[in-house]
Symmetry: C2
Subunit: 235 residues, 2 copies
DNA sequence: TTAATTTTATGCTTAATAGCATAAAATGAT
DNA sequence: ATCATTTTATGCTATTAAGCATAAAATTAA
C-alpha cells in the first residue's frame, strides 16, 4: 500500500461498492463490510502484476486504470480500461488463476479489496448474485471476441478510430462536449489499438489534418464524430 | 432439424451431457431430461447463425463444430473449435444476447438442446453449479484475451504453428501419434490463424519443406513437435 | 533555472503480408 | 464416367505497417 496516510472515506467507498450488487442481504453486506480494505495508488503505480495471485475482489472506487498484457515482442497490449465504480481482476479470481494482466493507475486512484474467501462464501450461497456476475462475464467475453476480430482485421485508421470512440464511450466527454475525458500517451493509445507508437502518432496527426479531431498535447477533441465512426466502420 | 430420421440414442446422449454437470440433484436431472431435444447435422450444415436468439443450452454430443464471426472485410474469423462432449453458444445464453458467432458442423454431428427457461431455472436455485459455470466462462475469457494478443502480435509462422498445436491439443492425434485428428481446409486454417488462404498454404508448405510437418491433403502430421512449439513461441 | 529524460513529430527505408492471376489437383454432382 | 466446381499450389506485385533515425517539444529532476 502506498500513501496509506491519504484520507479515504471508507464508508462512502463501501457504499459505492455495494451499489454494484443489487439485492444484497443485510448479513451479506455485513460480511463484506468486515472484509474490505482500501488502498491509495498514485498515477503510474502498479496495483497488481500479471502472475500475482488474487487476494480478493478488487474494486476501483476512484481514478482510472489500464490493464495490459506483455506481448510477444515486448510490446504491451492494453486489454481493458477501467473506470470507477467497477471491478478489476475478477476474471482471475473466478477462474481461480493468477492475474493474466497488469493493472496500473493512470491517475491517482482509490482501490478497495473484498477478501477472497469472504466474497466467494457469499457467492456460494447466493445463486442470483452469481448468475448476475456470470451474465456480465459472459457479456465481456463477447466484447473480447469482438475485439479480437477488429484488432486483427481492421486497418490502422479503423483501429485507432475505434479506440477513440471506445475511450469516449468509456470515460465520456469534458464539459465542452468534445474532449475525451482521459489523457493517454501516444504509446498507450498505440498499445490499445495494436500498432506502433510511430503509427499512432502519424495516424492521429492524419485525423487532425482531416479535421476529424483536434489535438492539444494529450487532450483529444472529437470534432466530427460521424466521420470518426465511418472510419472505424470501414475498417 | 435435418435428417430427423437419423437414429440417435437420446438416453446415452443425455447421460453424456449430465456427465458435464457434477453433483446434479435428481430433481434437477429430471427437469433436464424432460426439456432436452436432439438434432442431427450433416457436415457443412449450420447449427445456428450469428444474430439468432438462443433457445437453450446447446451441447455437442458427437462430431466437430467450428464457431466463426464474419469479419470486417468479409473474411471470417474462427473464434472457437468445439469437440464432444461440450457446450456451444452458452456465452450468448448467459449474457442474454443473440449469438455472436455462427456454429457450423465440420463433420456429421449430434447436438442436443436443453430448453432455456428450464435450464436457467436450475441455475437460479443452484449457486454451486452457477459458480462452476462462472469459473469456466472466466477461464475462457482468459484464453480469449491471450488469443487477442497472439493473433495481433505473432507473425504468420508463429500464428499458424500455434493453431496447429491448438488443434492437436483440442482434438488429439490419430493412432500413429502424429496426425492431427481434425481435417480442415486451408481456408479454415487461415481463418483460425488470422491470415489469408494464400499465406496459410504457403506457410504450411514451408513447414513441410523444413520437415516440421508432413502434408497429405488435409491430413497434417506433426513430425517435429519441439520445433513447432519453438516457432510458435518465437512469434 | 538548467540539465536530463521522456514524449512527440516527421521522414525515409525495410519487411511483412495481402492481393491477384494462373494452373493443377481434388472433390462433388449428374 | 464426365463435367463442373472447389480447393490447393505457386509466382509476382502492390500495399500496409514496422523499424530506424533525427529533431523538436514537453516533462521531470536536480
Amino acid at each position: 500500500m502506498s500513501r496509506s496516510s491519504y484520507n479515504i472515506d471508507i464508508e462512502s467507498v463501501f457504499e459505492g461498492v455495494c451499489g454494484l450488487f443489487p439485492n444484497l442481504k443485510p448479513e451479506e453486506k455485513e460480511i463484506m463490510r468486515n472484509n474490505i480494505t482500501c488502498q491509495y495508488f498514485r498515477k503510474g503505480e502498479i496495483i497488481y502484476k500479471e502472475g500475482d495471485t488474487p487476494q480478493g475482489l478488487v474494486c476501483l472506487s476512484k481514478g482510472k486504470v489500464k490493464l495490459y498484457k506483455e506481448g510477444v515482442g515486448g510490446r504491451d497490449q492494453i486489454v481493458r480500461m477501467a473506470k470507477p465504480i467497477g471491478f478489476i481482476g475478477y476474471r482471475a479470481l473466478f477462474a481461480e488463476e493468477n492475474y493474466s494482466a497488469t493493472a496500473e493507475a493512470l491517475e491517482d486512484s482509490v482501490v478497495c479489496i473484498i477478501e477472497k474467501n469472504a466474497f466467494m462464501g457469499i457467492l456460494r450461497n447466493n445463486a442470483e448474485l452469481t448468475l448476475n456476475i456470470l451474465k456480465s462475464v459472459a457479456t465481456e467475453l463477447g466484447f473480447s471476441t469482438n475485439r479480437t476480430v477488429t484488432l486483427t482485421q481492421k486497418h490502422i485508421r479503423g483501429r485507432l478510430a475505434e479506440s477513440l470512440i471506445f475511450l469516449r464511450d468509456t470515460y465520456g466527454l469534458e464539459d465542452d462536449g468534445k474532449t475525451i475525458k482521459v489523457y493517454l500517451s501516444r504509446e498507450d493509445l498505440a498499445n490499445l489499438s495494436n500498432m506502433t507508437t510511430s503509427n499512432a502518432i502519424r495516424t492521429l496527426s492524419g485525423f487532425a489534418e482531416e479535421g476529424v479531431i483536434e489535438l492539444d498535447g494529450r487532450r483529444i477533441k472529437i470534432l466530427d464524430h460521424h466521420r470518426l465512426e465511418r472510419i472505424s466502420d470501414l475498417g
